[in-house]
């Protein structure tokens, strides 16, 4: 243990105290409120049609948003890692827009684009596709806010891939498609999975971007985070606690999954050396 450098006790003390007060105390209070609800009432709250529908809609649209980001994010990471072209630096900077732009602003902008007289909403309406105030709108808002995850986890791995394996495969006559499927994709797969999980987790909890475009109709376009908000406004604290605790548990499961994937990735890299 390194004890040459001073300040261990002080910095650890500050860190633990701060985390306890700012992070652990509130989360503990939430768990305490949820436990207070009781098991039977908890199940009754979650199986109520409005809540059950909100969960179904949230998971469905989050899956759709994640699927989009798996394809677009992978293509974006590939283009940024492999090619040189004018405007590449700008494209690279644009990837971070969803992280820097407030979610409420994103929601406002997306709803302006997709309403009936918006830039996209008009042409889409003539094709018979409604986006604003439908589950598709929710998925688009979720997709926007979680664009950077797949890109930023896959891009560095692609950049670090050595050319020699690909060259060896090419020398043996393998096609581009075959090399991608058997050499490149397995190498980036753990990072890809991590990015997809983070993107899905973020989508499940998204609020600000969604409420502007969703229409927020109970049972149809109402997501779990909004329902939690509504229950708080109605002073129905047991319901809010039950729903929020379920979301929190889901977040922990996703976090656990991501950590498992990263452990697996480290082992693989370790055994390859």
């Amino acid at each position: 243990m390194n004890r040459v450098i001073p300040g261990f006790g002080l910095s650890l003390g500050i860190t633990l105290l701060y985390l306890s007060l700012i992070v652990l105390l509130p989360l503990g209070a939430l768990v305490w409120q949820a436990l207070d609800v009781g098991w039977e009432r908890y199940l009754a709250i979650l199986s109520g049609p409005r809540t059950a529908n909100a969960f179904r809609i949230t998971f469905g649209t989050a899956a759709l948003a994640t699927a989009f980001n798996c394809v677009y994010g992978l293509a974006l990471a590939w283009v940024l890692a492999r090619y040189e072209f004018p405007g590449k630096r700008l494209l690279d900077a644009l990837v971070d827009v969803p992280f820097a732009l407030p979610t409420a602003v994103a929601g406002l902008a997306l709803s302006a684009l997709f309403v009936k007289n918006g830039w996209f909403g008009g042409p889409l309406a003539t094709l018979g596709i409604d986006v604003a105030y439908t589950p598709l709108g929710i998925a688009i808002a979720m997709a926007f806010t979680s664009i950077p995850f797949v890109v930023r986890t896959v891009q560095p791995v692609l950049e670090d891939l050595h050319a020699d394996v690909e060259e060896a495969a090419a020398t043996l006559g393998a096609s581009d498609r075959r090399i991608f499927a058997t050499v490149i994709f397995p190498a980036i797969f753990p990072a890809f999975l991590t990015g997809a999980s983070l993107s899905f987790a973020r989508s499940l909890g998204e609020f600000g971007a969604i409420i502007f475009i969703a229409g927020n109709l109970p049972g149809k376009t109402e997501v779990v985070s909004l329902l939690t908000f509504i229950r708080i406004e109605e002073y129905d604290y047991p319901a809010a606690a039950a729903i929020a605790a379920t979301l929190l548990a889901t977040a922990f499961v996703m976090l656990f999954l991501v950590n498992m994937i990263q452990l697996w990735q480290q082992r693989r890299i370790g055994s390859a050396d």
């Binding site: 390194n2 040459v4 450098i5 001073p6 300040g7 002080l10 910095s11 500050i14 860190t15 701060y18 985390l19 700012i22 992070v23 105390l25 509130p26 989360l27 209070a29 939430l30 409120q33 677009y72 974006l76 283009v79 090619y83 630096r89 494209l91 900077a93 644009l94 971070d96 827009v97 820097a100 732009l101 407030p102 979610t103 409420a104 602003v105 406002l108 902008a109 684009l113 918006g118 830039w119 996209f120 926007f144 664009i147 050319a163 690909e166 020398t171 006559g173 581009d176 090399i179 909890g205 998204e206 609020f207 502007f212 985070s225 939690t228 604290y237 606690a241 929020a244 977040a251 976090l255």
Partner: protein, 292 residues
């Protein structure tokens, strides 16, 4: 005579040089084109729409949007919140990075996970959790009432929720960099008789200044734009607890779209400045690495 076995022919490009997957001109063009198109539609168009909608009725209407006292109050409250929250989380980030990067101790990985935890938690959950601590029916509700201290539906609640949501930003930038840089310079400083604060100020912080700046800029953008957590703990009281994102929603619900988009341009500008700062910092960092 038996036919010779077919040996796959090695693939080479015109110059006989190294071949990498997707280096063909068509693949390259199609992929870049498709990515640029989708990016223009999903990332650039929303940014453009914000400014187009804000300026729909000209510069006069745009400028007039900021004259409303509620909006001016929201700007002030947002600035004050950032002014309080960002320095606190810079301090926390430095402390967390110092103990995690410079020392090894049991539970270190758990501490890293704990520092990053707020990233994985929906801001709505954060807001609800704070309500269950400081609200009237919360853990500390009765105590706070007895002392006549108001935290929920007031400015302190907004600041606390913002502290939670942005706690990891500075720490996350500093920890990997400080681990990568190692402790040799600090150890040398100790040998020369320097104390902890002096080492921090003269050795460690100058080495990580770009990461620190970037973390602080991201933290600031997120504080100013936080919506979910703040909307639960603020109580949405006009002219009292509305930050800029809440003001945007309020104006939008009031059917005052131009004003809503005008306020949104302020936060969009903050986001764009943050990204430009990131690009500049990355370039400086690369230049520094090259100079070493």
């Amino acid at each position: 005579m038996a036919a010779p076995p077919t040996i796959p022919r090695p693939r080479k490009d015109d110059l006989g040089a190294r071949v990498r997957v997707g280096s063909g001109a068509t693949t390259r063009r199609v992929l870049i084109g498709a990515v640029l198109l989708v990016t223009a539609l999903i990332l650039v168009a929303p940014l453009a729409a914000i400014f187009a909608e804000a300026l729909k009725h000209g510069w006069g209407a745009y400028a007039a949007s900021f004259a409303a006292p509620d909006t001016q109050y929201a700007i002030w409250l947002t600035l004050i919140t950032a002014l309080v929250v960002v320095p606190i989380n810079i301090g926390f980030g430095i402390a967390a990075a110092w103990c995690i990067a410079k020392f090894s101790f049991p539970g270190r990985n758990l501490l890293v996970a704990l520092v990053e935890l707020p990233f994985s938690i929906s801001p709505i959950i954060a807001g609800v959790a704070y309500l269950f601590v400081y609200g009237a029916q919360g853990l500390l509700g009765p105590t706070l009432e007895a002392w006549d201290i108001k935290i929920m539906f007031a400015v302190p609640g907004i600041m606390l929720a913002s502290l939670f949501v942005t706690a990891p930003f500075v720490a996350r930038e500093l920890i990997p960099l400080m681990i990568a840089q190692g402790s040799e310079e600090e150890e040398a400083a100790v040998t020369l008789g320097a104390g902890g604060w002096r080492i921090l100020r003269l050795v460690t912080l100058p080495n990580v200044r770009f990461a620190l700046l970037y973390g602080a800029a991201l933290c600031n953008a997120r504080v100013m734009g936080e919506f979910g957590a703040v909307s639960i703990v603020s109580g949405n009281i006009r002219g009292q607890t509305n930050t800029l994102p809440l003001q945007i929603e309020l104006l939008y619900q009031d059917n005052n779209a131009v004003a809503a988009f005008a306020v949104a341009t302020l936060l969009t500008a903050v986001a764009l400045v943050t990204l430009v700062a990131k690009a500049i910092i990355e370039r400086l960092d690369k230049a520094r690495e090259a100079a070493h």
